[in-house]
């Protein structure tokens, strides 16, 4: 009986969380569509989320492309198909690894940062102070982050894809001894015309999921510095799972629409 009660309580809490998350997103969309706008906060967040994440995305993209070339080179050798390594690198990076790994990096860097920052503001009454001073925290804090996340995630993904393919090219040329021209023509041959769209559209949703989860978790923080720690961990975990889940569902939908 108590187990049933526990289950019911857990379900109620889960439904409440979903409801509150949905309410925040509705308020955010409404705030995006109507003034006032805090333009300098939007620019600040574009810089913090975009330029601030550049190093980690460059490194991740480069090494992923490089290791992909190494691994697939071995497998392709079994079929005498080593010159096709470019196809595998470009298709994998642009369709899947670029969006997902960039998303995971952003979840770790941006999602945690947003949750920690907003969480600290919550527990030190700074959010209440904002409201007391006549500022809507959703317009001032959430909207700039959501806009920056949605804009910068696709751009960072394109950068990750590019350096990943370059990483693969270096391995293909230096290690696998594939001719440079063969690699690049293989890169282009391996892609369907719809693939770049797939690689650009998915990060829009992934970026939105990461920042909106970070904001939601941050604004629900309670319980002092310990609460901020819990919020940060929770934001990273939930956002990381969301990246994978959003990737799956977006891929499913986009395949049925684009292909």
């Amino acid at each position: 009986m108590s187990l049933l009660k526990l289950l019911v309580d857990w379900l109620k809490a889960a439904v409440l969380e979903v409801q509150e998350y949905a309410r925040l997103q509705i308020a955010t969309v409404r705030a995006i569509l109507t003034p006032p706008y805090y333009t300098h906060d939007i620019v600040e967040q574009l810089d913090a989320i975009g330029a601030g994440s550049l190093t980690v995305v460059l490194l991740t993209g480069f090494f992923t492309g490089a290791v992909l070339a190494l691994q697939t080179g071995l497998t392709l050798d079994q079929f005498g198909a080593r010159p096709f390594v470019g196809r595998l690198v470009s298709a994998s990076m642009i369709k899947e690894l670029g969006p997902v790994l960039t998303g995971l990096m952003l979840a770790g860097r941006v999602g945690s940062g947003i949750a920690a920052e907003l969480g600290s503001m919550m527990v030190t009454d700074q959010i209440a102070a904002l409201r007391a001073l006549g500022t809507d925290p959703i317009r001032k804090l959430v909207v700039p982050r959501v806009i920056a996340g949605v804009v910068m995630a696709p751009l960072l993904t394109v950068i990750a894809d590019t350096v990943g393919i370059i990483g693969g090219w270096l391995i293909a040329v230096l290690q696998l001894r594939v001719a440079s021209s063969v690699y690049w023509s293989s890169v282009l041959e391996g892609l369907y015309p719809q693939d770049p769209w797939m690689g650009l559209i998915k990060p829009l949703f992934i970026g939105f999921a990461i920042v909106s989860i970070g904001c939601y978790v941050g604004l629900r923080t309670k319980g002092g510095t310990q609460g901020v720690g819990r919020a940060t961990t929770s934001a990273v975990v939930v956002a990381s799972v969301a990246v994978i889940a959003v990737d799956f569902f977006a891929t499913r939908v986009l395949i049925s629409i684009l292909y």
């Binding site: 700074q126 209440a128 409201r131 001073l133 006549g134 500022t135 809507d136 001032k140």
Partner: protein, 285 residues
């Protein structure tokens, strides 16, 4: 004014009182509970223009909740809240933004924005929510920081300030946009007596020099009595001094004692000191 002990703490005031010219805040039979826990149970009081209401009570008695209700950060379960003749408890957030233009709040621990400098904190509302030219905002920031004696800290970060300085900057932030009502939430808690007196003097100066109505929430009796029994006067040379108040001025500061969500006492400093109520005696001792 004679002190009185009220069991329910509620007095029917309502819209008629709210429309009275001198009442800037009316709390009418306000109830609030979080789940099973009752926070406020029929709390009623009024604050007259230029007067001070000092809310005393033990930790968790609902003192700070009253300020959050006034600001519209929380909504009551029942009852009415009126500010400057406008009912705010049923107002949407967009309407509350306008009401908050008349309300300044000094939060416990200051709640300064960590990422902004002292100048940006103090001028926050003017920078972000008005179209005032930047040079005018800067001039106003310098003026209020001069008023509280922290002009030389204008370009510092909040992390570089002491606890007392942070509270005073919080007061400067709350007064920068010239609100008619200032709310102080434990503004002196955790400060040493000398710094606390400095903060108390700012509260008195704002009330008497700027004619700001004040609600002071505290459990620091020493500070509560200081604010209630002192007044600010301007000397011939324009300097402001804080001196002991006369009897009439003392009557303008009214105490409320909150106990388990109800008002258990209302009256002036003299009534409070002479009350024979056992709980009050324990609280005062």
């Amino acid at each position: 004014m004679a002190g009185n002990l009220t069991s329910s703490g509620s007095e029917q005031v309502g819209a008629a009182v709210a429309e009275r010219d001198d009442a800037v805040v009316v709390f009418d039979n306000v109830h609030l509970a979080f789940d099973e826990k009752v926070i406020l149970n029929g709390v009623s009081f009024t604050l007259d223009r230029g007067h001070t209401k000092i809310i005393l009570g033990a930790s968790g008695s609902g003192k700070s909740t009253i300020l959050k209700l006034l600001l519209g950060l929380l909504k009551p379960d029942a009852g009415e809240i009126w500010i400057n003749g406008e009912r705010t408890d049923t107002m949407p957030e967009s309407g509350l933004m306008k009401v908050r233009a008349d309300l300044g709040m000094v939060f416990q621990e200051g709640a300064l924005f960590d990422s902004l400098s002292v100048a940006e904190n103090v001028g926050y509302r003017l920078y972000e929510e008005t179209k005032m030219p930047l040079s005018d905002v800067r001039a106003r920031v310098e003026e209020v920081l001069g008023f509280i004696g922290l002009h030389e800290f204008i370009d510092r970060q909040p992390s570089e300030l002491s606890g007392g300085q942070r509270r005073r900057v919080a007061i400067a932030r709350a007064m920068a946009f010239k609100p008619k009502i200032l709310l102080y939430d434990e503004a002196t808690t955790g400060l040493d007596p000398i710094t606390a007196t400095t903060v108390d003097e700012e509260v008195v100066k704002l009330r008497d020099v700027e004619n700001v109505s004040s609600i002071v929430v505290t459990h620091q009796l020493r500070d509560a009595f200081f604010v209630a029994t002192h007044e600010a006067v301007r000397d011939g040379d324009g300097r402001v001094r804080v001196v002991p108040a006369d009897e009439q001025k003392c009557d303008e500061a009214e105490f409320i004692m909150l106990r388990e969500g109800v008002i258990s006492f209302e009256g002036n400093a003299h009534d409070l000191r002479t009350s024979q109520d056992r709980y009050l005696r324990t609280f005062l001792s």
